[in-house]
């Protein structure tokens, strides 16, 4: 399998309907390498659906998503460059943290899966719990393992749905540093979050979503909370 490269992700007039319900309606935006794009909006705004489409898990009902010059039909080669942290954590509770990470590392074609898993657990600050089953972890610890699972293959495009959920202050700080590091290494980071205080200063671009539509787009956003109140509340 040939690995693919792309420098930006773009959505052109993308919509997604579930029956008569429009989850995402005619969204157009682009995100480039070395930037963090935030999707901000209330519950039901279409953030998770948009992330699922960008992850190739859902097909748009209309419109196109492109990864550089590639379309979603690029299949396994494209998926190799995408990392997803979902609202659900995508971890097997019966397996240990190391086994979970080694399993997914293997599926991503990484040669020394155990070494990669151990390095990831060290980054997550969980190297002393590597042989414990994930079912014995707190929500925050699981979230840290899940983040490492999503990034274990050094993806070009990282899609993170509420990555700060369940994290304590120290873990949140570590995650913010990790996201900045990802940006600095040339990844495209797209994250959905409700935490405007954390998003402030982290995001390079922000899209405010409401009822499946982009209602405001900002570059180098500041004063997120007041902007959020004015565009979402109106």
């Amino acid at each position: 399998m040939t690995s693919v490269e792309f420098d930006e992700v773009s959505a052109e007039d993308v919509s997604r309907h579930f029956g008569r319900r429009r989850a995402v309606s005619r969204m157009t935006f682009r995100a480039s390498r070395g930037t963090i794009l935030g999707l901000l909006g209330p519950n039901g705004a279409g953030k998770s659906t948009l992330l699922a489409m960008l992850a190739t898990l859902l097909r748009p009902s209309s419109g196109t998503i492109r990864y550089g010059t590639l379309g979603t039909s690029s299949g396994p080669a494209l998926r190799e460059r995408i990392g997803v942290l979902g609202h659900d954590l995508f971890l097997y509770p019966e397996l240990t943290a190391r086994e979970n990470l080694a399993f997914f590392a293997g599926l991503y074609g990484i040669a020394d899966t155990n070494a990669r898993a151990r390095a990831a657990l060290e980054r997550a600050g969980l190297d002393n719990r590597s042989e414990d089953p994930v079912s014995s972890f707190s929500r925050g610890m699981r979230q840290r393992v899940a983040l490492e699972r999503a990034l274990i293959h050094d993806p070009r495009l990282a899609l993170l749905d509420e990555p700060f959920t369940g994290l304590d202050d120290a873990s949140t700080g570590a995650l913010v540093s990790r996201l900045k590091m990802l940006r600095d290494t040339g990844a495209i980071v797209i994250l959905a979050t409700h935490d405007l205080d954390l998003a402030e200063g982290l995001l390079d671009h922000a899209l405010f979503l409401r009822d499946g539509r982009i209602v405001e787009a900002m570059t180098a956003p500041d004063a997120l909370r007041s902007t959020y109140r004015s565009v979402i509340g109106r």
Binding site: M1, A55, T56, L57, L58, R59, G75, P76, A77, R79, E80, I82, V84, G86, D88, L89, F90, L91, Y92, P93, E94, L95, E99, F103, F104, G106, L107, Y108, G109, P133, R149
Partner: protein, 224 residues
Amino acid sequence: MLRAILLIVRKDLTVEVRSRELAYTTLFFAVSCVLVFAFSLVQEGRAAEGVGAGVLWMAIMFAGNLALGRTFERERQSETLRALMLVPAPRPAVYLGKLTGIVLLLAITEAVLVPLVALLFESALLSHPFWLASVVATGTVGFAAVGTLFAAMLVRARSRDVLLPVLLYPITVPVLIAGVRATVAIAQPEFEVDVVRFWLMLLIAFDIVFITLALWTFEPVMTD
């Protein structure tokens, strides 16, 4: 692709060894099924001809349905099936990995069921072990091939527990008929190899057709 299949099989077996949930429930259910039929159908130490074969296949199919449902329920609970859909391995590899895991699990159940049925129904099932193993293996693969596809498709359906047997049993009727007829022929005092071979060929054809269909359709049906 082979690496992905092996990883998924190993993962499924590790999870099962840790939880023992599927092995215990399918075994308990299948053995109970055989015992109930033995109590009602075996009179004065003898059962009517061919009953043992029917009971064996019924127990395999009921236990198989249970195993299929629970295997995918596990993947649904943490949405790990979605994670498997995200990995760069070809999606048919995910199907083949899950199929292999279920077949191995059913093989354990069958290793207990076959001697139990032979004992309780005084059936000469083990008189031709090679032929019996071939028939049971091909029948199990055919049943699990259809079941794995449907169970994966239904993983997010609200009434999946009801829908799975409703869809699965009618399509796998040929497996049941061929499995029972071949097993009856194996247990006959006068072993008719041509009859067994005929039903075995039918099972092999079923396996080829449905595995091919499943590999072809797994990717589109798993992408919403």
